[in-house]
Amino acid sequence: MQATSQVPLRVAQLSKRYRLRAGGFIDAVSDISFDVAAGECFGLLGPNGAGKSSSIHCISGFYPASAGRVFINGHDVYAHPKRARRELGVCSQEETLDSDFSVFDQLVRHATYFRIPIPTARARATTLLERFGLSDKAAEPVESLSGGLRRRLQVARALISEPRVLVLDEPTTGLDPDARRMLWEVLAEARAGGTAILLSTHYMDEAERICDRVAILAKGRILDIDSPQRLIARHIARAIVEEELRPGVIWKRPPNLEDVYLKLTGSRLGVEGL
């Protein structure tokens, strides 16, 4: 597969195999391929252990792939990691905020890793803190922030380099509904500016709402890729599904992405008529 400068993120036949301590191997990611276009939000959905985080570690170039290639804005992330990562912002699932710096200073510090001049970094940090509702916390240490505020700060930090490709691993975990919606608005603004977004999430409503396309992963393989609407039409035959909320209480509703996810990953969890 060729790298094309028109595609901000291209994942080509990516595989990741881990060696087990007890001997043998496990294939965490098997031969996955997809592109994410400028201004597109692409979702990676899957249960725990499906290979989402392994895929993201490989896409960011932190883990070497066992096979396949990843291109960020045409740069091979393994052959030219510096060039590729200059175009990449990553918010990992684990908290990696730098607790030695205040909220504002750590955005500026992170910008220096991208060779962004300090005055530019300070201006961007001010704008991002305002956008994420963290301006009043600018001088505070990270430890003083709640879990939700830290998550917001970590997403803000991923945006400090104004990346062409933004990779977010479970970005809304721990956020309250207000903060979630605010993050969706920020992502919509980034998309409008042409940023390609790769999002891994457990929240089906979130994926259905903000992703143009999603890939459903199970056991390291992509089971299907398409827009949420087309996936629903393709995999759920009925116009109405029935879900048993609790014994004796049946909810009739239109099918959604969660139904597709449950059907493709082999879980039914009480949903009838899939």
């Binding site: 932190f62 883990y63 060039r83 990562r85 607790s99 030695d100």
Partner: protein, 258 residues
């Protein structure tokens, strides 16, 4: 002048540590400089007044001079190892700073070099402060401050690498006690900080020379006190340096990258 990308990456990481150091200067001044000063006062003035002179390698020295030079080696050992082991473990395991920086244009190799060079820089400055005190008290010649610098820096790098390797192999911060008690303290006690190793039985001397602190002590005493130059000290220092830096980098890669 624009630095090459790889060098800029290392420099950027070093600057991050320096910025943290400056922010917490009083804390670092106490933790970096107080310990060697206490050793100097306790052993140099206290024990030194009891012991009198020391005879080693055909030279007679005051015990104070002898111990002052030993404290330089002890400082690079403790400062290098503790920053490389405990400092790096906290940054790698609890703060996840290595992981956060290594997904930017700065690579993990550059992060680890930045870490090692910062740890070594801090230990070098602490050791040079001890040397400066030795110069001010008249125990060392003034030019020792310059001639010592390559030795204090390379040995600081060596012990920082030992610490970083320990951090990479430790599953929890408690496990750092193993190298601390099995390597660092034995070196501190048996590699010539407090007494010339020629006072030990021959078999113990051979064992002591296997450990790098003996070579560091030998080189430091040559440069500060004019003791005969033992050329094998340089070979031992350089071999350990290459081995430990390589082991530390590989172990940390294995720890962080799957």
């Amino acid at each position: 002048m624009k630095l090459p990308d790889w060098l800029w990456g290392v420099w950027c990481v070093w600057l991050r540590y320096f910025a943290v150091f400056v922010k917490s200067l009083p804390y670092y001044v106490v933790t970096t400089f107080l310990e060697p000063l206490l050793y100097l006062v306790s052993f140099g003035l206290g024990v030194g007044s009891l012991v009198g002179n020391v005879h080693t390698q055909g030279t007679e020295l005051t015990y104070r001079s002898f111990i002052f030079s030993g404290v330089i080696a002890q400082t690079v050992l403790f400062q290098g190892f503790y920053e490389g082991a405990f400092g790096a473990f906290v940054r790698m395991y609890y703060q996840r700073i290595f992981q956060a920086i290594a997904i930017t244009p700065i690579t993990l190799t550059e992060v680890l070099w930045g870490e090692l060079l910062w740890d070594a820089s801090k230990a070098t400055v602490a050791a040079q402060v001890v040397a400066l005190i030795g110069v001010l008290t008249g125990d060392f010649p003034a030019n020792a401050l310059v001639t010592l610098l390559p030795v204090t820096f390379l040995s600081s790098l060596l012990f920082s690498a030992l610490g970083l390797a320990a951090a990479a192999y430790s599953r929890s911060i408690d496990q750092l006690s193993y190298p601390q008690y099995l390597l660092v303290f034995p070196m501190f006690l048996f590699c010539g900080v407090f007494y010339p190793i020629d006072a030990l039985p021959a078999a113990f001397q051979a064992i002591a020379w296997f450990f790098p602190l003996t070579a560091v002590n030998s080189l430091v005493r040559t440069l500060t006190l004019g003791l005969p130059f033992q050329i094998h000290s340089i070979a031992i220092l350089l071999v350990w340096l290459v081995v430990l830096v390589t082991v530390a980098q590989r172990a940390m890669f294995r720890r962080l990258v799957r």
